[in-house]
């Protein structure tokens, strides 16, 4: 009897084990990490009927090849790379069943960055400090605290295949089907925003920011005409969380993402609406984003819409 696992033939540019995150340890400096696009993770787990806490693979920029060693139900969500199962083309935002020995191939996604590959029951690496997610800074979680390498055998749950396993296709969130030239990101103004000059504030909202290739899971780094930071105060170090928009001395804003350090001291101009944060994690280098001021009420209502969407998937009501 073979172990319950999937085999990484090629991991592509960067693949790692993620779950919703490692919470409760910020006080000792441990970041949340977790899926950069947690909505894609939630969708993939819900399609499979997995626990919301189940771990999956996050594959950045596609290019991965995975072999299944036993009958395995899996789902793809997030970046829409060309995908094939045993040479047959398959879709993202959908669930399939792989037979033993089947190979999943993911090409380079034309837009967006990260694809979630979830399996029925979840990736079954050991839990470290209450989470299976990879923390590359602490070198814990996932597969020995590191990104996946060719030849890795990734344990998966032995829960097997559900009786009614079948291809199941869901409607992705609207962002994925729009052909927008730029992504609008809701930002709740806050922090030290008003200590910036009026001109800097105006430029913040007006600028069409370009996502820098330096962006990673720690932050989405933006390029454009720098903001004047002279008015911004020196801050004492304080906790920071994903979504905070910092303006370092360079004057170029950056948005903290899941792997952000737990504390920081740069001036902040606000926090990205939680319903929009995943879009930054999915924006390819060179893509354009624009910030739009949002009220707390608007942000809460956007979040409720996402929750309703997820609930509808769980209820089988968003089948495409």
């Amino acid at each position: 009897m073979s172990a319950n696992e999937i085999v990484v033939i090629r991991p592509g540019p960067r693949a790692l084990v993620v779950d919703r995150g490692r919470f409760g340890y910020m006080g000792i400096g441990v970041s949340w990490c977790g899926a950069a696009d947690s909505l894609a993770l939630d969708v993939a787990n819900r399609i499979l009927g997995n626990d919301a806490a189940a771990a999956a693979l996050e594959i950045a920029f596609g290019g991965a090849s995975i072999r299944f060693t036993q009958r395995t139900r899996f789902a793809l969500a997030g970046a829409d790379c060309p995908a094939s199962l045993n040479g047959e083309s398959i879709s993202t935002w959908a669930a399939y069943e792989a037979s033993p020995g089947a190979t999943l191939e993911l090409g380079m996604p034309p837009r967006a960055v990260r694809t979630i590959l979830a399996v029925g029951g979840g990736i079954d690496v050991p839990t470290v400090m209450n989470s299976r997610t990879t923390d590359l800074a602490a070198r814990i979680g996932g597969l020995n605290g590191r990104v996946l390498e060719a030849g890795d055998r990734v344990p998966i749950a032995a829960t097997g295949v559900a009786q009614d396993a079948r291809a199941l296709l869901v409607e992705p969130p609207r962002w994925w089907t729009r052909d927008a030239q730029e992504t609008e990101i809701g930002v709740i103004p806050g922090g030290e925003l008003t200590s910036f000059s009026e001109e800097a504030q105006e430029r913040l909202w007006r600028t069409r920011w370009r996502v820098s290739p330096q962006s990673n899971r720690m932050a989405s780094v933006l390029e454009g005409e720098a903001l004047d930071t002279r008015g911004a105060p020196e801050l004492r170090s304080h906790a920071v969380v994903p979504g905070i928009v910092q303006v370092p001395p360079s004057g170029l804003p950056l948005v903290l993402l899941c792997d952000a350090q737990t504390t920081g001291g740069y001036p902040k101009i606000g926090v990205v609406a939680e319903a929009d944060l995943w879009k930054l994690a999915q924006a390819q280098p060179g893509a354009h984003v624009r910030f739009a001021a949002m009220t707390l009420d608007e942000a809460a209502s956007a979040l409720r819409a996402i929750e309703a969407y997820l609930a509808a998937i769980a209820a089988g009501a968003v089948q495409a």
Binding site: G27, S237, I244, T263, A299
Partner: protein, 211 residues
């Protein structure tokens, strides 16, 4: 002093100069607030504290008020934590009806009982028995005295007693069998205060005789 940051975080900034005493209050507050319902993380910074909450379980506005209030109330208790905590005791009299018995049992004067009881440094081993009641280690062995044969039905909060090899302060009114040697006006338990219990395991306690 408490401001909101995005949908799920609020930040308390201690005003004024950077200080270790403010940081002590931050530590105490971080410990407490981490247990508040809906709070996912309580993260201390440099004289500031960030609470990250789950909007399903906590209401930001309520949390802001709660944090603000807890901060204001934290000063007295938290600033002295880790430093020896002094408990002012009026020995004998109405609040300490068994002082004479303890003196007789120990074969010393009442004055000597007071001096020895107030001379020691006690360590809080743990809290239990009553809300805020601290089990103290460090009683002078000559002061050990058996419990009363017939427990009292109603001992006032603040009563300082000796029972066997232990000494301590009744934190709330209750029945009890210890020999009462004095009384303190210090509140050992106050649910409206943060932290509710004055003492924490590890604290060093001294009794100070007042008249």
């Amino acid at each position: 002093m408490v401001s909101r940051l995005g949908q799920s975080a609020i930040v308390l900034d201690a005003e004024g100069e950077l200080s270790l005493s403010a940081q002590r209050r931050i530590w105490a507050l971080a410990r407490d607030a981490g247990a508040w319902p809906g709070v996912r993380e309580a993260v201390a910074g440099m004289n500031n504290l960030t609470l990250i909450f789950d909007a399903h379980d906590a209401d930001a506005q309520t949390l802001i008020l709660q944090l603000q209030e807890a901060w204001e109330q934290s000063s007295a208790a938290a600033e002295q934590s880790r430093a020896p905590i002094e408990i002012p005791v009026r020995y004998g009299g109405e609040g300490g009806p068994d002082l004479a018995f303890v003196a007789e049992h120990a074969g010393m004067s009442e004055r000597e009982v007071i001096e020895r009881h107030a001379a020691a440094e006690y360590v809080v081993y743990f809290l239990g028995f009553q809300p805020g009641f601290a089990y103290l280690g460090g009683l002078d062995s000559r002061l050990q005295v058996p419990r009363r044969a017939k427990p009292r039905a109603r001992i006032p909060a603040g009563s300082v007693g000796i029972g066997g090899e232990q000494t301590g302060v009744y934190a709330v009114q209750s029945p009890g069998g210890w020999q009462l040697i004095g009384h303190t006006t210090l509140e050992l338990f106050n649910p409206q205060r943060t932290p509710a219990a004055l003492l924490t395991p590890g604290d060093i306690v001294r009794f100070v005789a007042v008249s």
